[in-house]
């Protein structure tokens, strides 16, 4: 729409917008996170929702204990191999559109515990992550920055076209593989389809063909 016309109309008290903008504005202004803490980062997540940092300013103060009522999962803490199936299952239970913030070093890559035998090296192996925030734990300001980043991301989403988000594309999956304990490790070790999107630009990286073959034990 012509910007000058839009401004002229708004001076007359007539506000014009597109359905897309209105839809995105509504969604990004009332993101309901899941009450879901895994470890240390969860304490900072609680601190963010308290009076001093006041996450309510971004429309995200309604923490819901049930995944059916939430549309944002903040993976706040170390995901162990015992907990990973539950995290993915909770994500699958959330209704679309849904978003994920990986909070802290552990959720991104395993962090300081990466060398541990029981620690998952990043939750983005199993579920798509929208915003990563580094830190151990990230400060409340960092979590608020992640929120603002997520809001910008929601604002830029289009309702139609090839780059429309997953929830508007009937062919895209809304459920992801729930890993199970195998003989040695989690099976599968990663969601190959998802992992390839992240790593396709890294030459000989973890997303290349050889890496996708199952482990020979």
């Amino acid at each position: 729409m012509d910007l000058e016309l839009k401004e002229a109309l708004s001076r007359q008290g007539i506000f014009t917008t597109t359905l897309e903008e209105l839809y995105n504005w509504g969604r990004r202004s009332s993101v309901w996170p899941l009450t879901f803490g895994l470890a240390c980062c969860a304490i900072e997540m609680i601190a963010t929702s308290m009076a001093r940092y006041d996450l309510a300013r971004f429309g995200a103060e309604v923490f819901r204990p049930s995944p059916r009522q939430a549309d944002l999962m903040i993976v706040a803490g170390t995901v162990t191999k015992k907990m990973a199936p539950q995290v993915v299952r909770l994500y699958n239970q959330m209704p679309e559109p849904k978003y994920v913030i990986a909070m802290g070093a552990c959720a991104i890559s395993g962090g300081p515990f990466k060398q541990g035998y029981n620690v998952l090296k990043g939750i983005d192996r199993y579920i798509p992550v929208d915003v990563h925030i580094p830190g151990c734990p990230p400060r409340p300001e960092a979590l608020m920055d992640a929120f603002i980043t997520l809001q910008k991301k929601i604002d830029a989403q289009s309702l139609t076209g090839a780059d429309r988000p997953r929830h508007l594309n009937a062919e895209e999956p809304s459920e992801f593989i729930v890993p199970q304990y195998g003989a040695h490790d989690l099976e599968p070790p990663k969601n190959v389809k998802l992992w390839n999107i992240i790593t396709k630009n890294i030459p000989n990286g973890p997303g290349t063909a050889s890496d996708n073959e199952p482990r020979k034990d």
């Binding site: 170390t78 162990t80 015992k82 907990m83």
Partner: protein, 386 residues
């Protein structure tokens, strides 16, 4: 009504006719549960609303702390101890530093001892404040009391941040002393926080103590007998709420705790209310210690000059260092074989050992009371699973 799951049958030895209205129901509380303080699971068998069997399931946050520490140098384990009980990282630092100091026979300077006492008591204040906030949240007072607690907690976290550079993961103590000296004006800031803290406690007591709901939900609920508490090895505020006078600050007098005048609050009944009250009173005693320590703190070095922290190789031997952490007896057991990393590294976590009496406290109570009883144990899963 075929409600009982096969697993529940096995859990109950003398299972009566599991049909009709007598049917037992097995439910799983957690690992995703709003009140389980992280990723903890209770497999509960219910007869109506009453708990007849409770099985705790751990391991959802097993981060291989001990195994990683056995492959790392003594210094490199210090930041990992922060992440054990992540509400009170400074007391964890102290317990580990104490164990290494015992192992290597290190004496620490006077000023460092005072700084350790001040930071540990501040940690106790913020831990107990947030525990009581979470406890009221679990009783259904959603939000407001926790906001009061976190308001005070933030003031103490500001002090930690200006001293150590981090709000939660302080990584501050070293074997032989502390990492950095106090910044300018820190003591005055701390004095101000300590002077204001009784106001918060008075406010909190005024809001909560006469509250009918709080009394009804806590008095006579989750009683832990003195005998069972001793037999199970329970420590910390829970043990003292059951009337046992056992505080490692008084028993061991580690550091310089013999110089301070403070009392150990004890409970009578061992119920949830006593555990709540013991924590409230302990905060007042911590304030007393803080006032004395802030008055007497000397100037001087903060590190033992003879200790070489990098390339640290204690001689072969073993040592157990323990302190009174906000949750109970936190101990580190180390075996050295003379190499740069410990041969065996073991944590004695108060949270895990206090959790062993959970079933005994919960049997016969309602599901809603189970959550409150669980809240008063005050566990942190980082420490339980390690």
């Amino acid at each position: 009504m075929e409600m009982i799951a096969p697993a529940a049958q096995e859990l109950i030895p003398n299972n009566a006719a599991a049909t009709g209205d007598d049917a037992l129901l097995e439910i799983s509380l957690g690992p995703h549960h709003p009140s389980t303080h992280g990723v903890f699971r209770m497999d509960v068998v219910l007869d109506g609303e009453r708990v007849v069997k409770l099985k705790p399931v751990f391991g959802y946050l097993h981060r291989n702390h001990e195994k990683i520490a056995e492959g790392a140098s003594y210094l490199a384990s210090m930041p990992y101890t922060d992440r054990l009980d992540y509400i009170g990282s400074l007391t964890n630092n102290w317990a580990y530093a104490l164990a290494v100091e015992k192992l290597a026979g290190i004496q620490i300077p006077e000023r460092a001892e005072y700084i350790r006492v001040i930071t540990a008591e501040l940690t106790r204040l913020q831990n107990h404040a947030s525990t009581i906030g979470f406890l009221t949240q679990e009783m259904g007072a959603s939000g407001s009391p926790l906001m009061y607690s976190f308001r005070e907690r933030e003031k103490i976290l500001d002090l930690f941040e200006s001293l150590t550079g981090s709000r939660m993961m302080c990584n501050y103590m070293r074997f032989g002393g502390c990492r950095v000296d106090l910044p300018a004006g820190w003591l005055d800031q701390t004095r101000k926080v300590v002077a204001d803290f009784p106001g918060f406690l008075d406010e909190f007591e005024r809001l909560l103590e006469g509250n009918e709901i709080l009394l009804a939900r806590t008095q006579g609920v989750g009683v832990l007998s003195r005998e069972l508490a001793i037999q199970a090895g329970v420590t910390g505020p829970i043990l003292r709420a059951s009337g046992v006078n056992y505080d490692i600050r008084k028993v061991d007098r580690y550091g310089i705790y013999d110089r301070f005048d403070f009392r150990v609050p004890l409970g009578e009944h061992g119920d949830v209310y006593d555990r709540y009250m013991v924590r409230m009173l302990e905060m007042r005693e911590s304030l007393k210690i803080l006032e004395q320590a802030l008055r007497d703190i000397p100037s001087g070095p903060i590190m033992d000059t003879k200790t070489k922290i990098r390339g640290f190789r204690p001689k072969a031997g073993e040592a157990y260092g323990r302190i009174e952490s906000p949750k109970g007896e936190l101990g580190f057991f180390l075996i050295s074989d003379g190499s740069p990393n410990p041969y065996r590294y073991r944590v004695r976590p108060p949270s895990l050992i206090n959790l062993t009496v959970l079933e005994d406290m919960c049997l016969g109570s309602n599901v809603s009371d189970t959550i409150v009883i669980f809240g008063t144990i005050d566990i942190v899963l980082g420490e339980v699973d390690r």
